[in-house]
Symmetry: C2
Subunit: 359 residues, 2 copies
């Protein structure tokens, strides 16, 4: 069992990583909670809801809600429905919410927890690799038709319980999506653990030892950054490496067409290309591109409108005064926030889309 402790401004919480944790939940949940309310999605419910429910039912009043799988559930509509269900169940401030699922569920259930009765405790139980990222750090949100995660809060969980058994049932596409964020963590951290990632082959035989090693390294990078800058005033923005274009691509394609990690991978390639020009340095773009190809990341895009992508990037939450800010790499492991010139950025984006992605 691996354990990390994460400090926040309001409380410390543990990230526990092990096999079979869904059968040992009781030992991580304070008995003072009278009720436990599980929020999960239709995919995860089929696989693990019964097991989690049965582990808890003798010691707590247990309720649950199942929302449709997919990013569409991070909507104001589903959010308000969940609020109604919690109220009707009579969950009070002495209750605990469990977010059982991937990043979508963590964000949605976390935002519900942050605003139900002005905030109740919640536990993240991630079931995807991607959620190693989103489950740590307290960012919770729902989407707005005009942009991703525009409605949300900083609201840390009281624990992250990561049962790595659940990762064996996720589709290959989701493994790729999650590893893109691990690769990101490897690139922005000093010293980079990049050298460990580049040899990894993502397929069904990916061994659990390698996976757990990389997850822990990824969580460690994230934990150190969010401890130092919980509310994204400064260095936490480094975690958005690859996300400026990545989010814009996701939004332009329509959520769900490409996984988050796949879009971020393309965003990272772009951010590396911009970095090389900006800092006049050499970065391992080719090595990263080869790794993405080797692992079957999608590297073609439909003909996206550059103006629309620029507009999306301007609506990014990091944007201040209409000026796009990007996380660039001065070298591997040395991220910097840079204010971008609109004209230059548009030109580089055009070149990038032509030369690298659309083929």
């Amino acid at each position: 069992m691996e354990k990390l402790t994460i400090k926040t401004s309001t409380h410390d919480y543990q990230v526990v990583i092990d096999k079979g944790l869904r059968f040992k939940l009781k030992s991580f949940i304070n008995p003072r909670y009278q009720s436990v309310y599980i929020i999960t999605d239709s995919n995860v419910a089929t696989l693990y809801l019964d097991e989690v429910y049965n582990t808890l039912k003798d010691d707590f009043k247990v309720y649950y809600s199942i929302v449709p799988a997919g990013e569409e559930s991070k909507s104001s509509h589903v959010y308000f429905d969940l609020m109604t269900q919690l109220i009707e169940a009579g969950l009070d401030r002495n209750g605990l919410i469990i977010a059982l699922g991937g990043g979508m569920i963590g964000d949605l259930a976390g935002f519900v927890a942050s605003t139900y009765l002005r905030g109740v405790d919640f536990i993240q139980m991630p079931t995807t690799i991607l959620a190693h990222d989103s489950s740590v750090g307290g960012k919770v949100a729902i989407n707005h038709p005009l942009g991703k995660n525009l409605i949300g809060a900083f609201y840390p969980p009281v624990a992250v319980i990561y049962d790595v058994d659940t990762l064996q049932t996720i589709p290959f596409r989701e493994i790729r999506s999650g590893y893109a964020e691990i690769a990101k963590h490897s690139m922005i951290h000093q010293p980079p653990f990049w050298d460990q990632i580049i040899p990894v082959t993502l397929n069904e035989s990916l061994d659990q030892k390698t996976l757990i090693r990389d997850l822990i390294n990824g969580i460690n990078v994230k934990a150190k950054i969010v401890e130092e800058d919980e509310r994204e005033a400064d260095i936490r923005q480094f975690l958005n490496f690859g996300h400026t274009l990545g989010h814009a691509i996701e939004a332009e394609l329509g959520y769900g067409k490409m996984t988050h990690g796949e879009a971020v991978a393309i965003g990272m390639l772009f951010a590396m290309a911009v970095s090389e020009k900006h800092f006049k340095v050499d970065l391992p773009i080719q090595a990263f591109l080869e790794w993405l190809k080797h692992n079957n990341y999608p590297l073609t895009l439909p003909n996206l409108n550059v103006n629309k992508l620029m507009d999306r990037m301007k609506r990014d939450k990091k944007t201040k005064n209409q000026q796009i800010k990007m996380v660039l790499l001065e070298s591997l492991g040395s991220p910097k926030m840079v204010d971008m010139d609109d004209v230059i950025l548009r030109q580089q984006l055009e070149t990038f889309l032509e030369s690298m992605v659309i083929r």
Copy 2:
């Protein structure tokens, strides 16, 4: 000019009280904010929006939204519409929201600020006496059809700017509503400032000196309590004196039928009656009742269903494990949280409604 500083876990903020502050706003707003977004209601907009807008327009990009006056605007629908308007205006994390209005606007605009882009700064500009209470302490929320303030957050403003000129335009009913909360503050605080309240006559000639004195005393009581217990884990619950039944009456009548303060005044009478029985003490119930009558507080209610009121009280946010908790007075200035026995409470509520209110 009166100034108080309030400490919170994240930052300190000032409460500034004076005449004509709406014309001096600039000196209280950090020039680093690039944009200012005013949220107000249709009543307040007619009176003060132009003045506030004109005071700011030379130094900031100023936007505004006007929502319909009345508690109905504290809805998920209006909340989500405001989010859309902020996004469309391009407000970023460097923007500031101003809540210009009474408690409804403070709660609504505050909740918008707490969740827009995971939180932007906001200033409370209360325009009612009642808002002396709600504008201080960081509680923000919207209503759910099943109960008041069930969706919200603890999110302190960066300043409270209280222009007491604006209080001269509020209707007499609103003065009564606000003074009920001042009376509450006077009763739960040691030493009580009750003796100052009891001689006050609430009518159009209420002099501003008395009003400002009582507002400052009220805010001081509130400030001390919320500084000690920001997230309502303990003594902050004392501020709910009179609110257990008060909220239930508001909800049963339908919001807007009786003002918040009028309902709380009846709730306080009930809490005093319960306190006398529980602690076997004498409290100045008759003096308070006379003061309420003298000032034309409504003391009759339609025939409310006791079971429904009990159910409403069980859905109160203070409730834990279905047991109603009430704030009682051991003596004037000595509030205590007490777990209530359902059977006894129902009986006392029946007696109270018969003997005191319905006539």
